[in-house]
């Protein structure tokens, strides 16, 4: 998995790409570090470029949410498609994450 962060007025956007799986703990730790250090109050995770996610990846997304909210920020998740959208739907992540198109 790779990510790219862009900053805008009041918004930090992190675009994920590739595959988010059980060997991405270190990458996600770095992502959380960078999101925590960003000044904006709202964070958007863009998943348009993510082609595959497994249950470990789901867990990491939930930890991102937890860590972002611990810093009094809000989070939404956008752009999931294909296998990623299918897994997030099957796992009922819409009840926990703010999933947007």
């Amino acid at each position: 998995m790779d990510y790219r962060i862009t900053q805008g007025p009041g918004l930090t956007e992190a675009a994920l790409s590739g595959r988010l799986t059980f060997n991405d703990y270190e990458k996600m730790r770095l992502l959380m570090r960078d999101l925590g250090a960003a000044p904006a109050r709202h964070v958007t995770l863009r998943l348009d470029g993510l082609e595959f996610v497994d249950s470990s990846g789901i867990g990491m997304l939930l930890i991102v949410k937890e860590e972002v909210e611990q810093k009094d920020k809000t989070l939404d998740v956008r752009g999931a498609t294909g296998q990623v959208l299918r897994v997030l739907t099957v796992a009922d992540l819409g009840k926990v994450l703010d999933l947007r198109p």
């Binding site: 799986t21 060997n23 703990y25 730790r29 249950s55 867990g59 299918r86 796992a91």
Partner: protein
């Protein structure tokens, strides 16, 4: 395939298909094994739901690597600090040649309209436990049961059998 600690056999192209692939835990952790197998099966069994096969196979391989051969339980606490400790524990176990060298075997068989996959590890086995709703991890077997037509855990957790109706 023998480079990187793997071995594969492919059966006859016509009629039933049998594929057996055996790799080290290190390779199964570091390379997209499920994606590679799913890509091959998509060509050999075109009626299969490729995303479903790859998703279920990925979970089975992850279980075999992390819970089976490396002997780690699911992370129970959902914090970045816990995730870092887990990543360090995982790296520590992968650095042990005895654990990293344990095999993960994927067997695939196509018989008529059913694709059958089995993933086997060399660990001590484990008892699958349903995760609490607030636990971020531990959803792997639940995903397998949703994406496979049928699944069964055997040999004390060392063998995960999945069937996909084509």
């Amino acid at each position: 395939m023998s480079d990187g600690g793997g071995a594969a056999e492919v059966g006859p192209a016509g009629g039933d298909m049998a594929l057996s692939l055996s790799v080290t835990t290190a390779l199964a952790h570091g390379r997209p094994l499920a994606a590679a197998v799913a890509r091959m099966l998509a060509d050999l069994a075109p009626g299969a739901d490729r995303d479903a096969v790859e998703t279920a196979l990925q979970e089975a391989v992850a279980n075999a690597v992390i819970h089976g051969n490396l002997g780690l339980s699911s992370m129970e606490v959902g914090t970045a600090a816990a995730m870092q400790r887990y990543a360090e524990a995982l790296a520590g176990r992968l650095a042990d040649p005895a654990l990293a060298g344990r095999r993960v075997t994927v067997d695939a068989r196509l018989a008529g309209k059913v694709l059958r996959l089995e993933v086997v590890d060399e660990g001590a086995g484990y008892d699958a436990v349903e995760p609490r709703p607030d636990q971020p991890f531990g959803r792997g077997l639940g995903l397998v049961s949703r994406f496979a037509s049928r699944c069964e855990v055997r040999d004390g957790g060392r063998r995960l059998c999945m069937e996909f109706d084509l």
